[in-house]
C-alpha cells in the first residue's frame, strides 16, 4: 500500500474503497467481540461461511466479523445488511436457514428476532429494539458496521477525516480550543475536563511530551473500553493522534491490560495498518507532523489504572501511585509532561472535530456533555453495553434500555463507578446521569460500571465485597488505604457474621473519613465510597445486622436459617434428595425436617422446593421453630390409585 501523502489523497483512497463496495450487496455482520466469542460466535461465522460456500455465494455475500454492538445478553448478535435485520442468540445450526431464507429467499426468520417481553411484538431492525432505540450510540454504534482488523472499513465510514482536517486546516491551538469548547470530560473516572488537561500538558516545560490511552479497565463488571479498543481501534488511534497534534507530542502509548488479548491484537494490527497508510509515523498526510504509538501491556494490577501508577508501570517499575501534588500532565512518564486519557475519551475526539464542539456541547447537561457508555450488568433484563446521552435518568437507563428487573423482583439499588463508586437507591432513580449529580449522591460516574441490584442483595455484603476487592487491589503503600481498608473489611465481615458491635457504624464512618482524607491516591481516597453510600441509604440494614443479628435480604449465611414449614411440606422428597449434606430427615409421607447442625445454608432445598408448595423458608433474626415431633410427621394421603 503506498503511503497517503495528503488529505486529497486520503479522499481519493476513500472514494476508491467506496466505489468498490456495493451498498446493496448482502453483508452478514457477526459480533466477534469477547462476549459473543465466549458464546461461540466463531462457530457461527464458520457455519455461515460453510453455507455460503455450499450455495456458491462467495462472490455475492460478504461476511464481516465485527466488534461488540453491546447486546451481550442476547449474543451471538448477527446483523444482515442492507436491510439491517438483527438476529439474536444465533447458533451455528441457524446458519443454514440464515442463508437459504434471509439471503436467498429474502425472508425474515421470526424465531431469531427480538421479542418484546411485555408486548410480544417482534423487532426486525436493530433500531426497533427498545434496548437500542433508547440509546444514543455515537461512539459504539460503529462497532457492528466494521471489521476492526480492516482499516478500509474504518475509512469507508469516514475514518481519519478528522485527523486530516486538523492537520490541514487547524493549528494545534485551534484544536485545543475546540476540545475545550466541547467541554469533554474524562471518561475514566474523575471527569477532569480533557481540554484543560491537554492545555496543561502542552504548556508544561519539557522537550518530550507523551500522550497515553488508559485501557487498564479493571472495575468488576465493566467492559466498555475493551469493546471500543477491540471493536473500533482506529477511532481511538485517530483521537490519540489528534490529541498528540494539539499537545505537541510525538510519542504515544496504549496501556492495555494483559487480560484483553483481543484488544491487544486488534489495536496492534490497527497501528501497523495506520503506519502503512501513513496515518502514523513521519510526516503524517504530508503535514510535517510526526507521531508514533506503542502498545504497553499491563501486568494485571487494578491500581495501575490510576494515572501516576500507570506511568510508573510504563517506566518498567512496580505500578504504584506517586503523589500527584504536581499533575502527571506536567510531570508524568520519565518526568515529562504526559497526557493520559481513557479509551472512550480519546474515541470522542474525532467526533468532536468532525461535527464541531457546538454540536457536541448540545448533547447532555450543563456540566456533562456528550454520551457515556455504561456496562449495564447485574439484576437487569438487558445486560450489555449501553451508550446514552448525559442527563438521561438512571430510571430510563435501567428500565427503558435495560428492560427492568428480571423475575418480577423489586429494584433495590444501582452501584455506579465500580469499587470507588457508591450505591444509589430507588428514591434517587430520577437523578440525571451527570458527573456532578452522581458525586453529590455519594457515588461517581467512574469509568461507567453500572451494577443493578434487586431486593435479594444485602448492602452490608455488597460493601464487604467491594472492600474485599480493594484489600487485594490496593498497592499497599500508604497506611490509610491499606490499613483503613483492612480494618473496614474486618468490621464489615464481623457485621455480616452476626458479630457486629454497637459503635461499628461510627467506627466505619471514622475510618472512611481518614481513608478519604489521608490516602495517597484516588484508589484510597474513594475506597470508602461503597461503605459510606450504603450506610447513607441503607443504615437500617446495618442496624438490623448489628442489633437484631438479622439480614433483611437473607444473604449473610451466618444470620439466616432454612426451615421447612410442616403445614406446607408435602413430603415430596425433592429437597431431601438434593441436600448435599444429608441434613434433611424425612421420607415418603413423612414431613421433612432440616437438621440445623448439619445444614450448610447452601439454599439448595429452597431452590428445589416446588413453588406450588413453597414449604422451605428462609428466616433471619429469629430462632428456628423447634422440629415437629416425630410422631406428628406422618402425612395422611388421599390415595390417587384405586
Amino acid at each position: 500500500m503506498p503511503k497517503i501523502n495528503s488529505p486529497a489523497e486520503l479522499e481519493k483512497l476513500r472514494e476508491g474503497i467506496l466505489s468498490r463496495r456495493d451498498p446493496n450487496k448482502p453483508c452478514i455482520a457477526v459480533c466477534t467481540g469477547t462476549g459473543c466469542l465466549a458464546l461461540g460466535a466463531d462457530k457461527v461465522v464458520a457455519a455461515l461461511k460453510e453455507e455460503i460456500k455450499k450455495h456458491g455465494l462467495e462472490d455475492k455475500v460478504d461476511i464481516k466479523e465485527t466488534g461488540c454492538p453491546g447486546f451481550c445478553e442476547r449474543g451471538t448478535v448477527v446483523v444482515i445488511y442492507p436491510e439491517e435485520i438483527c438476529y439474536l442468540q444465533v447458533q451455528p445450526d441457524d446458519a443454514e436457514e440464515v442463508i437459504s431464507q434471509t439471503i436467498l429467499a429474502k425472508k425474515v426468520i421470526k424465531r431469531l428476532l427480538y421479542v418484546d417481553p411485555t408486548t410480544s411484538e417482534q423487532a426486525v431492525r436493530e433500531s426497533e429494539i427498545p434496548f437500542y432505540k433508547n440509546q444514543m450510540r455515537l461512539i459504539i454504534g460503529s462497532n457492528i458496521k466494521l471489521d476492526p482488523k480492516s482499516i478500509d472499513d474504518y475509512l469507508a465510514l469516514g475514518g481519519y477525516s478528522a485527523l486530516a482536517k486538523v492537520l490541514s486546516q487547524m493549528t494545534p491551538e485551534q484544536v485545543l480550543e475546540e476540545v475545550k469548547k466541547s467541554n469533554l470530560r474524562g471518561r475514566g473516572g474523575g471527569g477532569f475536563p480533557a481540554g484543560r488537561k491537554w492545555e496543561e500538558c502542552r504548556n508544561a516545560p519539557g522537550e518530550v511530551r507523551y500522550v497515553i490511552v488508559n485501557a487498564d479497565e479493571g472495575d468488576p463488571g465493566a467492559f466498555m473500553d475493551r469493546a471500543l479498543l477491540e471493536g473500533n481501534p482506529h477511532s481511538v488511534l485517530e483521537g490519540l493522534s489528534i490529541g498528540a497534534y494539539a499537545i505537541g507530542s510525538h510519542e504515544g502509548y496504549i496501556y492495555v491490560r494483559q487480560e484483553y488479548p483481543l484488544a491487544i491484537e486488534n489495536v496492534t494490527i490497527a497501528i501497523k495498518q495506520a503506519e502503512e497508510y501513513g496515518f502514523l509515523g513521519e510526516n503524517i498526510l504530508g503535514s510535517g507532523f510526526d507521531f508514533t504509538v506503542k502498545v504497553h501491556r499491563g501486568a494485571g494490577a487494578f491500581v495501575s489504572g490510576e494515572s501516576s501508577a500507570l506511568m510508573t508501570a510504563l517506566e518498567g517499575r512496580v505500578g504504584e501511585p506517586r503523589p500527584k501534588y504536581i499533575h502527571t500532565a506536567v510531570k508524568g512518564v520519565r518526568d515529562s509532561p504526559s497526557c493520559l486519557n481513557n479509551v472512550e475519551t480519546w474515541a470522542n475526539v474525532p467526533l468532536i472535530i468532525n461535527k464541531g464542539a457546538d454540536w457536541f456541547a448540545r448533547i447532555g447537561t450543563e456540566g456533562s456533555k456528550g454520551t457515556k457508555i455504561f456496562s449495564l450488568v447485574g439484576k437487569v433484563n438487558n445486560t450489555g453495553l449501553v451508550e446514552v446521552p448525559m442527563g438521561i435518568t438512571l430510571r430510563d437507563v435501567i428500565y427503558k434500555v435495560g428492560g427492568g428487573i428480571p423475575g418480577g423482583k423489586k429494584f433495590k439499588a444501582v452501584q455506579t463507578g465500580g469499587p470507588s463508586g457508591g450505591c444509589i437507591p430507588e428514591e434517587q432513580l430520577d437523578m440525571p446521569v451527570d458527573f456532578d449529580e452522581l458525586t453529590k449522591a455519594g457515588s461517581m460516574m467512574g469509568s461507567g460500571g453500572m451494577i443493578v441490584m434487586d431486593e435479594d442483595t444485602c448492602m452490608v455484603d455488597l460493601a464487604r465485597y467491594f472492600l474485599n476487592f480493594l484489600a487485594d487491589e490496593s498497592c499497599g503503600k500508604c497506611v490509610p488505604c491499606r490499613e483503613g481498608i483492612r480494618q473496614m473489611l474486618k468490621i464489615l465481615t464481623n457485621i455480616s457474621k452476626g458479630k457486629g458491635r454497637e459503635g461499628d457504624i461510627e467506627r466505619l464512618e471514622e475510618l472512611s473519613q481518614v481513608t478519604k482524607d489521608a490516602s495517597l491516591c484516588a484508589l484510597g481516597k474513594t475506597a470508602a465510597n461503597p461503605v459510606l453510600s450504603t450506610i447513607r441509604y441503607f443504615r437500617d440494614e446495618y442496624e438490623a445486622h448489628i442489633k437484631e443479628k438479622r439480614c433483611p435480604a437473607y444473604v449473610c449465611k451466618e444470620l439466616i436459617s432454612y426451615y421447612i414449614d410442616p403445614d406446607k411440606c408435602k413430603a415430596c422428597m425433592i429437597c431431601l434428595r438434593q441436600c448435599p449434606t444429608g441434613a434433611i430427615a424425612g421420607g415418603k409421607s413423612q414431613i421433612h425436617v432440616i437438621d440445623q447442625e448439619k445444614c450448610t445454608k447452601c439454599g439448595t432445598c429452597f431452590e428445589a422446593c416446588p413453588p406450588r408448595f413453597g414449604a422451605v423458608k428462609k428466616i433471619s433474626g429469629e430462632p428456628v421453630p423447634p422440629p415437629i415431633p416425630e410422631e406428628a410427621r406422618m402425612i395422611a394421603r388421599e390415595s390417587k390409585e384405586k
Partner: protein, 204 residues
C-alpha cells in the same frame, strides 16, 4: 532559586522553590511528626503521619507535608482538629501492628491514640519502607524488598542477595521503628543457614 513566603501555624516562613512543606517547617524549627521520612532518602509519603492542613486557592485540604511542594502564600496548619483526628486514627491503625513500638507510643500519647482500638495484627511491620529504600537508595543493594500488594504486602529479604550483603551491613536495623525488621532478618537467616548445597559459596 526564587524565594517563597508561606505561613505555617500563623508564622511567616521563607522557603526556596522546590522545597516541601516539611523541609520549610524544619528549617523554621516547626515540628511535624514523621515515621517513614529519612533525610537521606527520597520522600515516600506512606505513613501519612505528617499530614497537615493547607489553605490554597480558597480551599482547605489535607496533604502529606513530606511531599507537598511549597507555594507562595500557602497557609499551613500543622495542628488542627482534623489533622489531630487523622493522625490519631493513623496511629491506631499502626499500633494494631506494633503496639509496643516506642516511637508509636510517644505519638499515641500526644494524639490520644488507643493502641487497643483495633484488633492486633500478626505482623509488627508498618511498611514504612525505610529498610527497603535505604538498601536500594543508599546502599544500592536491594537486599530487601516489598512483596505482594494490598493488605498482603510485606517486607522480605531476598536470600540470594542478603546472604552476600547483609552480614556486615545491617545499617537498616536502627532505622526500623518497630521490631519487624530484625524478625524478618532472623527468619531469612534461619532459611539461609546452612546454605543450600547449590549456593555459589560452596563452589570452592
Amino acid at each position: 532559586m526564587s524565594e517563597i513566603t508561606l505561613q505555617i501555624d500563623g508564622r511567616e516562613v521563607k522557603a526556596e522553590e522546590g522545597m516541601t512543606i516539611l523541609e520549610a517547617a524544619q528549617s523554621a524549627g516547626i515540628y511535624i511528626p514523621t515515621l517513614c521520612h529519612h533525610e537521606k532518602l527520597e520522600p515516600y509519603g506512606a505513613c501519612r503521619i505528617c499530614t497537615v492542613e493547607i489553605e490554597a486557592r480558597g480551599r482547605t485540604n489535607l496533604v502529606a507535608a513530606c511531599l507537598y511542594p511549597v507555594e507562595q502564600n500557602l497557609v499551613v496548619r500543622t495542628r488542627s482538629e482534623r489533622v489531630d483526628k487523622t493522625r490519631k486514627v493513623l496511629l491506631e491503625l499502626m499500633l494494631a501492628h506494633a503496639p509496643d513500638a516506642a516511637e508509636l507510643q510517644d505519638l499515641a500519647q500526644e494524639y490520644g491514640a488507643d493502641k487497643g482500638r483495633f484488633e492486633k495484627e500478626s505482623s509488627f511491620c508498618i511498611l514504612c519502607g525505610l529498610c527497603v529504600r535505604y538498601c536500594a537508595e543508599v546502599k544500592k543493594k536491594n537486599a530487601i524488598g516489598f512483596v505482594d500488594r494490598g493488605t498482603r504486602r510485606e517486607i522480605i529479604f531476598i536470600p540470594e542477595i542478603a546472604s552476600k550483603e547483609c552480614w556486615d551491613c545491617k545499617e537498616c536495623f536502627p532505622l526500623c521503628p518497630t521490631e519487624a525488621l530484625q524478625a524478618t532478618f532472623l527468619l531469612t537467616k534461619a532459611l539461609m543457614s546452612p546454605p543450600p548445597p547449590s549456593a555459589p559459596e560452596s563452589e570452592e
